[in-house]
Symmetry: C2
Subunit: 135 residues, 2 copies
């Protein structure tokens, strides 16, 4: 598997854990060795694994937490660090997202997630979702 | 200078170029070797140096473009990649920001900027801005 494909695989695993509210899976996707940070829509930055994972416990434990699909994924490599940019499609609207990963052992682990609301609906470049459909 | 201090220095240079509408300075701060990306508030991801720099030409060339100061800067190192998270304070409101840098030659160059609106005003952790008052 190419590095870009491996990063995309990790990104898809993130949205699968998100959409299925799989907290154990979500926890396993985030780095345990590198610093982790997160910016949820409308919120300030969270620093550190404890604070970031607490936010996912809240989000995934909420029955109203959103189903999500990812569109127009683009991977950018910086050695053992990679970012995926794209759109999160929720029932409530569309967000722009940055997901940053580090290469650790057998795969890529999340170190940063930043999602933010869009002023207008985007024109998607890719005809089909990276993973889908909404669950 | 420690690596974290050098990254903070690059981050401050970014906001100085932003606040003084220094397009030449802004251009020099972004990497020419690594892929660059940008997510402006309310917007979708921009990919590639040309698209990203065009957005800064528009933003910095606009007389209404905002003065900005940066608060609560926190640096996170991943080898030759680093992220700075914090708040951008504008006259119009406060944004959460992620700025990602790569180490290139004599310094750190921007590869990614993501800024997003906050639902509520934050309680700043640091008593003074990372760099001085709104210009």
């Amino acid at each position: 598997m190419s590095q870009k494909a491996a990063v995309l695989f990790a990104n898809e695993a993130f949205y699968l854990a998100f959409a299925t509210r799989d907290l154990k899976g979500m926890d396993a996707l985030w780095s345990r060795d590198a610093p982790v940070t997160c910016v949820h829509p409308g919120c300030g930055p969270l620093h550190g694994r404890e604070e970031v994972m607490e936010s996912w416990v809240t989000l995934l434990g909420n029955p109203a937490s959103p189903a999500v699909e990812f569109r127009d994924a683009r991977v950018f490599l910086y050695g053992d660090v990679a970012s995926v940019l794209g759109f999160e499609v929720l029932r409530e609207g569309v967000l722009a997202a940055t997901n940053t990963f580090v290469k650790e052992g057998d795969g890529w682990r999340l170190v940063h997630h930043h999602a933010s609301p869009l002023a207008d609906s985007p024109d998607f470049q890719d005809p089909v979702p990276t993973r889908g459909p909404l669950m």
